[in-house]
Amino acid sequence: MAEVVLSRVRRDFGAVTAVHDLNLAIAEGEFVSLLGPSGCGKTTTLRMLAGLEFPTGGEIRIGGRVVNDVPPAKRDIAMVFQSYALYPHLSVADNIAYPLKKRGVPRAERRPKVERTAELLQLTPLLDRKPRQLSGGQQQRVALGRALVRDPKVFLLDEPLSNLDAKLRIHMRAELVELHQRLGRTMVYVTHDQLEAMTMSDRIAIIDQGRLQQFAPPQEVYHAPANRFVAGFIGTPGMNLIEGTLSQEGGAWCFTAPGLRIAVGQLTDDAQAGPATLGLRPEDVTVGAGPVSGIVRVVEQSGHENIIIVEIAGNERLTLRIPASILPRTGDTVALAPDATHAHVFAAGEAGQRLNTATARPRPQTL
């Protein structure tokens, strides 16, 4: 049993609150990413889970046991640090063996385990080196090895792939996912790379300024962002957010902005007529025919698709993703058709909550 539960966990550093009453229930064996901009409190949360930082308030449970008073050594966790934190005076092999040694694994049993881990991480030729003789990526793999050599209840990983080159990163991503499936251990994975979070996680916890914004599977985070922050944070290029007015006409909700008018389907009871924000993903607008017209300002070709920026009335700029077969030129006037079924509506203001009732796109069917 290794579910991880945070209840109203808070951490203050003097006047700064790094983590704000965080509630998070991670199921046994789940792979959860903590995703958010730099300084949002990801590392602090992870350190509190590890017992390296003390919550100013709230309760942390691992496997049903309240661990607020349990020292890190007794929590049965393994952690990869953002700074690697390799022991500079120990060789790679001794670094990886250290957690085993500390838990009283006899020397003879340590050897094969270290070798197996090294093989998994392609570290075998480096076992005798000291950390300072390794590249950044190699060091990161040693840090990973030190965590993987044991079989703890929970893995805590603080941006473990951030320093690898693109190819190795994709490789390690797959390795980690496979490892997770094989071991079935709970993993908490900190990253600021949304692609990593989207591809690897069962669920993503999106944090901003120490507050949880949404905790949901990747598809839901993408297709039904809980608020404006999540909407803007997830997806590249980011969602187009347009300020306008919400009004009710004969029982149906309608969003208006200069040069734009959309029927937005069903909204929650919280929805009120008045200012609101409309969100449109770059791929949810078709170019060619439609009620909205705009002037193309920027065209970026990336081979399999084109990204264009179109200026519509009221100086609003929309970023659109269109098939490579359509190639407008800068200065062209184009007609646009926003896909009303995939339009997101948020309450007015920076922290505006999602107002749509249904998820904009049905969950993918399981086979």
């Binding site: 203050d12 003097g14 003390f54 919550p55 100013t56 607020n68 008073d69 020292p71």
Partner: protein, 298 residues
């Protein structure tokens, strides 16, 4: 910004931290804090050193001290010595650091030779300089006569103002390496691009020193001046060994006065009063230095 420990684990860590600092605190209390307080207490007594017997006299030691000429003379000497030797240390130290920062032949050897006086015992330094200063056979007088600077051998330590000048020079010789090392360390962190940019703008070597090097050194120089001022002000060994405060009291500074009162004139209480006043005078500098450090750390 210490938050109040909340969890049991946090309190246990705090307890371990206190346990580790306990020996330090204990030693501090016994050999520093307690003596410091009793120094103030002692200064309110009149104590005969050989018997250590004494009686309460209140503030009269301080009254006496402020009205004696010797205190003011010693304070004056103390200021002359401190300012004199400090200025030489800084000027010579910065110049030497600039030289050693250049591509000198056998730079490491030169650096070692420069560093040595700082680490050598004051006793050794003074013995050597006394031999150099020797009026009959000293090499210094000989060289000065050969060079035509003087006609007759000088009495470097036995007459004024020679004695004060000699003390200041030996002090500068012994302590300028501190300035060299500190400045050199800072010089090595000045980015080379700054100089290249200035060179492109057509700045000559002096302009580069004034406009780039000196501003960059400002902060470390403030620290050095404060530290050295504090250390020079309380210097005892060097002056005591070189001149013993003489001729008469020509080079007698406050630390020497404290020693003389306590162990030559056997007036321990009075000596304590001198020591306390001296510390009070230094306190301003010490507090400035501590505030500086505090600011740099946060």
């Amino acid at each position: 910004m210490t938050t109040v420990p909340q969890t049991h684990l946090e309190r246990r860590y705090a307890a371990l931290g206190l346990l580790l600092i306990a020996p330090t605190v204990l030693v501090f209390c016994v050999v520093i804090v307690y003596p410091l307080i009793s120094a103030v207490y002692l200064s309110l007594f009149s104590i005969f050193t050989p018997t250590l017997q004494g009686e309460w006299v209140g503030l009269s030691n301080y009254q006496a001290l402020l009205s004696t000429g010797e205190f003011w003379t010693s304070l004056g000497n103390n200021v002359i010595w401190t300012v004199g030797t400090l200025v030489l240390q800084i000027v010579f130290g910065v110049a030497m650091a600039l030289v050693l920062h250049e591509n000198l032949w056998f730079r490491a050897l030169a650096r070692s030779l420069i560093l040595f006086p700082y680490f050598v015992s004051t006793v050794v330094a003074v013995l050597v300089w006394k031999w150099l200063f020797n009026d009959l056979y000293g090499i210094l007088n000989h060289l000065m006569i050969v060079a035509g600077l003087i006609e007759f051998p000088l009495d470097h330590l036995g007459s004024m103002p020679n004695a004060m000048i000699s003390v200041i020079i030996v002090g500068a010789w012994k302590y300028f390496p501190f300035v060299v090392i500190a400045v050199l360390a800072r010089l090595q962190t000045i980015p080379e691009q700054l100089y290249e940019a200035a060179r492109i703008d057509g700045a000559g070597p002096f302009a580069r020193f004034w406009d780039i090097t000196l501003p960059q050194l400002r902060e470390v120089l403030v620290v050095i001046v404060l530290l050295r001022a504090i250390w020079d002000f309380k210097e005892f060994d060097l002056i005591f060994l070189l001149t013993g405060g003489g001729p008469i009291i020509g080079t007698q500074t406050l630390p020497l006065l404290v020693y003389k009162e306590a162990f030559a004139l056997n007036r321990m209480g009075m000596a304590a009063a001198y020591a306390v006043v001296m510390m009070a005078l230094m306190l301003a500098f010490m507090l400035i230095y501590i505030r500086q450090t505090r600011r740099r750390e946060s």
